[in-house]
Symmetry: C2
Subunit: 291 residues, 2 copies
């Protein structure tokens, strides 16, 4: 059983100190679990942390709003932050180490090195957010090098990100297991996201259109529909009826490699991105065809 | 003292087997030295191997002609190979492990992930060989992940490569020390290179122009010349007089970051690339201004 005094979490800002702390744990034989976050934690993040606490001997959470994954027109400055509340959550759960570097610690002046997963990074989220996945891959690789985790945890809500991270790990021969855990949802089905706080009351109500059109798509597939075009058309129609919602994209793709499907065979991932004013929300579901 | 039976070198083609072999050495407390090569070994490579054998407990040499660092019009197919001779050298020196993966082991079908050091990769060698340094960074990072070396050895002859690798290691927080060792030269001063075998007898004779114009530049700097333009002009003139030689570029740059210098202050790196027919040779010297 895991017994841990409250407030015993270690907070570190320097890379060298994190490396030293983890080296010590590794040499004592502990397995390292890692949950990368941009802070403003919600139950989705916490579900990853709990799984890491269950499965590994030493859990590291990073809180870092990574500038290289935001486009020049995106919400880096306004991205929500609440470090005090985040720390209260993590202390209560009994996390071992929280890594909170500042931007210059991660990206010193003259930083020039980037990691990218070609092709995969240019579709869907990548098309809407140029450079986004390059920033994600770069910062995640850096975290992996600093923290040297045995297992790293990601949420299914960022489905394309998970596929890309797994591809990077395989291609670059990294020794880390990637675990992707289910999306956590509000009562009305809205996927938890730090960006949900930006929504007005009316937009918040309207935002359940994402999960609703995904559920409709799931039902269609389970009822035998195999044509992505037919499903996309119905989802587009549903989102079109919601006046506060502007469709960005609908993706019906292979679960493993995010390639668009001509026909749904056994399994597919259906992803959707919708704007409510300036707020952009994403969601997805994996659907099984009964054949 | 190092005593080693001849022919005891371990040869491995599979990544998983290399990881296992090295994990075993690491857990017994040995430090790992790594020399990446494309084979066709000469005294330049062997000087790196000897230093690794002196400084570390377990020396790994890779032999891999890396396709991603060759351009579409370059000499990948014709790159010289002589595995038998390479192995004889490495056995005689007492190397512990030789890693000889095939192309599909390093780049399985669908490989998509690349590492690049922006800016630095686009000048000089990078301009003459688009994509070259992206291929170098990607394969070197993969080797570092597979072999997990404490120290990796590179030759000063590929000066821009060494600067880029060091930058990558720093930017991505990799735990490996990069050692750059001096260029090994023939009697007439020509830098050893696997590509020297391509030269005709006349070209081979003419090729000493590289080291000769670098020595001239060094003398000029030591005599007080600080203007890169004046030095470049003299080097260009010398190469121009050699009818078999076609100048590709002359670079007078900062030793640490390879940025072109307006004026030589304390120290500079002078690099040159010259074609002899289709054969392209490079060389460089670090020069000190007496100020």
């Amino acid at each position: 059983m895991r017994i841990k005094k409250e407030n015993s979490v270690e907070v570190i800002a320097k890379i060298s100190a994190v490396k030293a702390a983890i080296e010590k744990q590794k040499s004592s034989g502990k397995s390292i679990g890692f949950v990368p976050t941009m802070g403003f934690l919600h139950e989705g993040h916490l579900s990853l942390v709990r799984e890491s606490l269950r499965r590994t001997g030493y859990t590291v959470v990073s809180i870092f709003v990574n500038p290289t994954q935001f486009g020049p027109k995106e919400d880096l400055q306004e991205y929500p932050r609440n470090l005090e509340k985040d720390m209260a959550f993590l202390e209560e759960l009994g996390v071992d180490l929280v890594f909170i570097p500042d931007t210059l610690e991660m990206y010193p002046e003259g930083f020039k090195t980037y990691v990218e997963v070609t092709d995969l990074q240019d579709n869907f989220e990548g098309r809407s957010r140029p450079g986004h996945f390059r920033g994600v891959c770069t910062v995640v690789l850096k975290f992996f090098e600093i923290i040297n985790p045995d297992v790293a945890y990601f949420g299914q809500k960022d489905a394309q990100q998970s596929v890309i991270i797994k591809k990077m790990v395989g291609d670059l021969n990294l020794d880390v297991e990637i675990q992707v855990l289910p999306t956590v949802r509000e009562k009305d089905g809205l996927a938890l996201s730090s960006r949900n706080v930006y929504l007005t009351k009316d937009q918040r109500k309207a935002a359940s259109i994402l999960v609703n059109c995904l559920r409709k798509a799931k039902n269609m597939v389970e009822a035998g529909e195999k044509d992505p075009y037919v499903i996309t058309k119905e989802m587009t129609r549903m989102i079109g009826r919601q006046t506060l919602a502007d469709l960005d994209y609908i993706a019906i793709v292979d679960v493993g490699n995010f390639e668009p499907l001509d026909k749904i065979k056994k399994e597919a991932l259906i992803a959707v991105a919708v704007y409510f004013g300036k707020v952009r929300l994403i969601d997805n579901m994996i659907v099984q065809s009964k054949e």
